[in-house]
Amino acid sequence: MNDWTSSSVVIRHEVGLHARPSVKLTKLAKTFASAIQIAGSPEGPWIDAKSIVKVMAMKAKQDSTLYMRAQGGDAPAAVTALKDLVERDFDEDAAHAASG
């Protein structure tokens, strides 16, 4: 069994992982070669962070904890990047101002 690089982060976004944040998260995950999975609890179920269908199906809400893990050459970088994205609230401030 290979080791996973893991981390967790609290989602602060006002409606949780909705369409726009989910699109950003999956796009970022796809830039890494590693297998990346996320879950709503440390016990799983773990789902593919590169799949918008599966990420949206999690229906992760505001203030819920997002668990993430990656396996592969760039696993540590992938986990750090994903965690940063969630901590930056998906860079939503500018987008909110733009769309009114």
């Binding site: 909705h18 799949s51 269908v53 809400k61």
Partner: protein, 256 residues
Amino acid sequence: MRHPVELKGKPASDGIFAGPVFFLSSAEAERRASGDPEVERQAFDEAIAMAVAGLAALTETAEGEAAEMLSFQVALLEDDALLEPARALIAQGKPADLAWRRTVDAEIVGYEMSDDDYFRARAADLKDMRDRVLRQLSGAGARQAQAGAILIGDDVPPSLFLEADWSKGGAIALTQGSPSSHVAILARSRGIPMVVGLGNVAPNGHAEAVIDGARGLLVLSPDEAAKRDWSQKAEELAERTDFFRDGRRHDTKTPH
């Protein structure tokens, strides 16, 4: 000569518009399945690629909420978690359109069952995406709505609104729909009059109509008197809008 038919629905976007009617048919074009999984698989992959290309072209001119909705649809169409189950059904001998419909509908159920308004509303995005691919498969391509017309249908997907030509004005009248839908938001932002929830609208023989968005009213085949009445109302409305826009009074008594 048709008699006028007045229908009452719910206001979704203010404004008065008179013009020809254009019925959006919900019936999809017939598609003959080849019976060959290899051919069906190829047709499916082509339809997905065409749908992605069409959405990408729309994304270039869209902004804000509309751009978000389109990029969500593109992300879905690029997700193997959605494509693979459909391809598996095709490999089992199912026609491409049936395989796609079954796969996306299973996904839509999950959204519709959500207790969260936001997620429930995304079901419309999935249906829009599903139908775009189905139109590609049936060879119907993109339905280009007539410019400067009152579009009448059960519901209008956001991508069709974005594709339509609004340069000559126009309006939307829906038998179903909601004032809080993506399309209603788009209509308000572009000043396109819109009425929803009209119930059944029988298309038989009506060629023109007037719509009053603020009052939630659609009149099919209005008579000449009614048309004069409406065009006067539309002028008054335009004047009032100008008044508010300019922030000053247009005093008709001002001497020249």
